[in-house]
């Protein structure tokens, strides 16, 4: 029985070891989106159209880190006038603070799968810790370009007043639900 387990471990370890690498975020397959309550009536959704960053993933060594930089002015709620307002000093102040960043500081594992990513989210120059729950993470060879690719889905929530984004409170919701779907290709 011990021999079987040993052989099985040897078979898995190289695969996990192969995954350990730096990955660069594929902006075409990365979505950073949010949902916020609108005046108590409904949920308003939006996303950011420009982001970049990197992922370091080493499941064998139980190490991972992620950095995402988001262009604040690329906010897109499907309504040009509202997007201009959200970019203005009333909300994201995109001219003065053009980049929203997330840099992980700690990760949690469930078996050999990444389960949580805790990091500092910086909006308007204010950094606050945020924990994202990873609902799925998969790595493997891309069927078309044959590159090694990792992708994960994660979600969490923040209070916008923690970052000094106070305009429109309490009518426009205080809590933003964040959703990140990310793909990254091995460097």
């Amino acid at each position: 029985m011990k021999k079987v387990l040993l052989l099985a471990s040897l078979a898995i370890l190289p695969v996990n070891s192969l995954l350990a690498a730096n990955y660069t975020i594929d902006p075409g397959h990365t979505y950073v989106s949010f949902a916020v309550n609108h005046l108590g009536f409904s949920t308003m959704r939006g996303k950011f159209n420009k982001q970049s960053g990197s992922l370091n993933y080493d499941p064998a060594g139980k190490k991972a880190s992620v950095t995402i930089e988001i262009d604040a002015a690329s906010i897109d709620t499907g309504h040009e006038k509202r997007d201009q307002h959200l970019s203005s000093p009333d909300f994201l102040n995109a001219v003065e603070h053009p980049t929203i960043t997330f840099k992980s500081t700690k990760v949690g594992w469930s078996g050999d799968k990444l389960s949580t990513v805790t990091g500092n989210l910086t909006i308007l120059g204010v950094s606050k810790p945020v924990t994202l729950k990873v609902s799925s993470i998969n790595c493997g060879e891309h069927p078309f370009n044959k590159k090694q690719v990792c992708g994960f889905d994660a979600s969490g929530s923040i209070k916008r007043s923690d970052f000094g984004v106070n305009y429109g409170l309490p009518g426009i919701g205080e809590v933003l639900d964040l959703q990140i779907e990310l793909e990254a290709a091995k460097d």
Partner: protein, 281 residues
């Protein structure tokens, strides 16, 4: 009550208008600078309701709030602190230009040389122009407050139409407070009293608030830069009103008329230009 205080029309119109009138009525016998303290009280309350009391993070908009309050304190205190000394004429524009650099420094640092040159030329030119044109009417209470009221009204409405309600509300709260001053002048039958002090310090609050909020609406929001040209002409237009009626109501009306026409026309144009995709989101 809380719901009322959350409403923009109360935050930036009703409350500053009433507060400015009441504070002026209470202080008018005590100090010639009553109008300055009336504006200070009105803006302190309005900006606290609009922005909240937090100054963190210290964004450009929050710097503007601090600077407007600081300019009002300076204009209110200078007559008492420096009774015998006449401040140089350049004091107010130099202070305003330093304020511009503090508010916009972070953005200017990312500009290329041509953009920096354009910003400096436009910003400094605007400050010098407003200082000069407000200086022409500084000794005429009716014209001074009519120009201040209509310039800030136009700046506020245009800023709000250019996608920053926050900047718009700040300017509109100052406009409402100035309107309250004008009404006090009309009703009380006594000069509001500009609390004239050394050099151009007495008009500093109007010059600084109009320049900072106007430029912020261009740089941080989407106000077309050329919208500031007709708005900046308001103090000059007010100074050129040929008649000087004896009746205070007529005087305030006549002196406000050119500025009102310009302010409303520019605001309507900015709103029209930016409303092609608006559906009342």
């Amino acid at each position: 009550m809380e719901q009322i205080l959350d409403r923009p029309e109360f935050q930036s119109a009703v409350i500053p208008f009433v507060v400015a009138m009441l504070v002026y009525a209470g202080l008018k016998k005590l100090t010639a600078g009553a109008w300055i303290w009336a504006l200070f009280a009105a803006f302190l309350i309005s900006s606290s309701l609009i922005n909240g009391t937090t100054l963190s993070p210290l964004t450009g908009t929050r710097k503007i709030i601090l600077l407007v309050l600081g300019s009002l304190i300076l204009a209110g205190l200078v007559p008492y602190l420096i009774r015998q000394v006449k401040l140089p004429r350049a004091a107010a524009p130099v202070l305003t230009i330093l304020a511009l650099l503090w508010v916009f420094g972070k953005v200017v640092a990312r500009m290329d040389l041509i953009e920096i040159a354009l910003f400096l030329a436009g910003g400094v030119g605007l400050v010098l122009w407003l200082t000069w044109t407000f200086g022409r009417i500084a000794n005429d209470d009716s014209r001074l407050h009519s120009a201040g009221f209509t310039l800030l009204l136009g700046t506020g409405l245009s800023a709000a139409a250019a996608a920053s309600a926050l900047l718009g509300q700040l300017a509109l709260s100052l406009a409402a407070a100035s309107g309250g001053m004008l009404l006090a002048w009309v009703l009380q039958g006594k000069a509001v009293g500009s609390g004239r002090v050394s050099g151009s310090i007495s008009t500093l609050p109007y010059v600084l608030s109009a320049a900072l909020i106007g430029l912020a609406a261009i740089i941080f929001a989407r106000l077309p830069w050329y919208a500031l040209i007709p708005l900046a002409a308001i103090p000059l237009a007010t100074s050129l009103v040929p008649v000087k009626p004896d009746a205070r109501f007529l005087s305030a009306l006549v002196n406000s008329l050119p500025g009102l026409i310009i302010a409303l026309a520019v605001s309507y144009w900015v709103w029209q230009a930016g409303s092609s995709n608006s559906s009342g989101y």
